[in-house]
């Protein structure tokens, strides 16, 4: 599936796919676009509520723990989570890349790394949720005061758990998809098919998960 096409091709006069991509890949793009609006709606409603509040908890006071290292370490744990996701995105690109060359071994190795990265991220998130739960934070309950010392509203925790939960669910389904891709690769399904386009579509989904995290990370932990 090469993307190089002769100049001056008449895309819309028949005989070609006008966008020069496979149907499934195009539909994956449109699905991701709709998913971007779902996440966008969540994050914008979070922004609306935050703009309508007189004060808001300081993320550096809330997210400041690291497993085995204790408290007072703002931003450290979430940096780890961010880098895990970026690296797993890189291994996914490498898997797609190996697929282009028909290099089955490369696809398998990089998919395994991607799956491990996804599981590591989910583990981090599970730890963070458990930790916050033990501090008294959950849907409908917010123990953290606002930055100006006034009582914190549970909007803060509701949005945090809903949005990171929805993102975590995407990571989880991405891991499942990648495991299915790994099994199919090992069984030689793509080899028989003659191309690894399926890996490309799974890759698009996985990168989208990373992309959403860029926004979630910034909106909840940084600003």
């Amino acid at each position: 599936m090469s993307t190089t096409v002769a100049k001056g091709t008449k895309w819309w006069s028949g005989g070609h796919s006008p966008f020069n991509v496979e149907y499934g890949k195009l539909m994956m793009w449109y699905f991701l676009m709709s998913d971007a609006f779902t996440f966008g709606a969540f994050l914008i409603s979070y922004g609306t509520i935050r703009f309508s509040a007189n004060s808001w908890p300081d993320p550096n006071e809330v997210y400041q723990s690291f497993p085995f290292l204790g408290n007072g370490l703002p931003l450290l744990f979430v940096s780890l989570m961010t880098f895990i996701l970026i690296i797993s995105s890189v291994t996914m690109v490498l898997a797609v890349h190996a697929g282009h060359r028909g290099d089955k071994r490369g696809v398998v190795i990089n998919l395994i790394w991607t799956i491990l990265g996804g599981l590591a991220f989910l583990g981090c998130q599970a730890w963070e949720w458990t930790h916050l739960y033990h501090e008294g934070a959950w849907w409908g309950s917010n123990p953290f005061p606002n930055a100006d010392g006034s009582t914190g509203h549970h909007d803060f925790t509701n949005f945090f758990f809903t949005i990171t939960g929805f993102h975590g669910f995407h990571v989880f389904s991405g891991v499942i998809i990648n495991i299915v891709m790994l099994i199919m690769t090992l069984n030689g399904v793509f080899e028989r098919r003659g191309h690894y386009l399926m890996i490309e579509k799974a890759g698009l989904y996985w990168h989208f998960v990373d992309l959403v995290w860029v926004f979630v990370f910034t909106c909840f932990y940084l600003i």
């Binding site: 006008p18 195009l26 793009w29 033990h134 008294g136 959950w138 309950s141 006034s150 992309l211």
Partner: protein
Amino acid sequence: MAQTATADSNAGKREIKRVTIILSVLTLVELALGFSMIGMEESFLRHFIKGAIVILMLAKAFYITAYFMHLGHELKNMIMTIVVPLGLFIWFIIAFLADGSSYRNLRNNYDKSYHERTTQPANQGATPGKHDVKDVKPKTGAPEGGSSVGH
């Protein structure tokens, strides 16, 4: 034929490496800016740093979609069918954030008790209003409350 394939593959690998480095550096800069904001008073500088972080976030989003998701290498018509609808976000963000801030001003102006309740320090609040649900909650029961404080 085989040679061009390896040349393509090497160029692709180099691009992946380059984008990985760019994304890592952007993240590190974001984190450095985040650290610099710790303990800073509300000020113009703080808002400026927040703006810078948002711009870096958009740069990261661009690199992920354009290179990792390969959107930059697709046909322009296809790119446009995805990017143009996303332009709705420009309206979406501006309209809803403005709405939120207008709601805050209206409430503070016309509901003075709300303003008092939400700006005074937590411990001096005599009667918890409906916005302080977790204060009203009894210590026991409420299984999802996570009443055990301290960890």
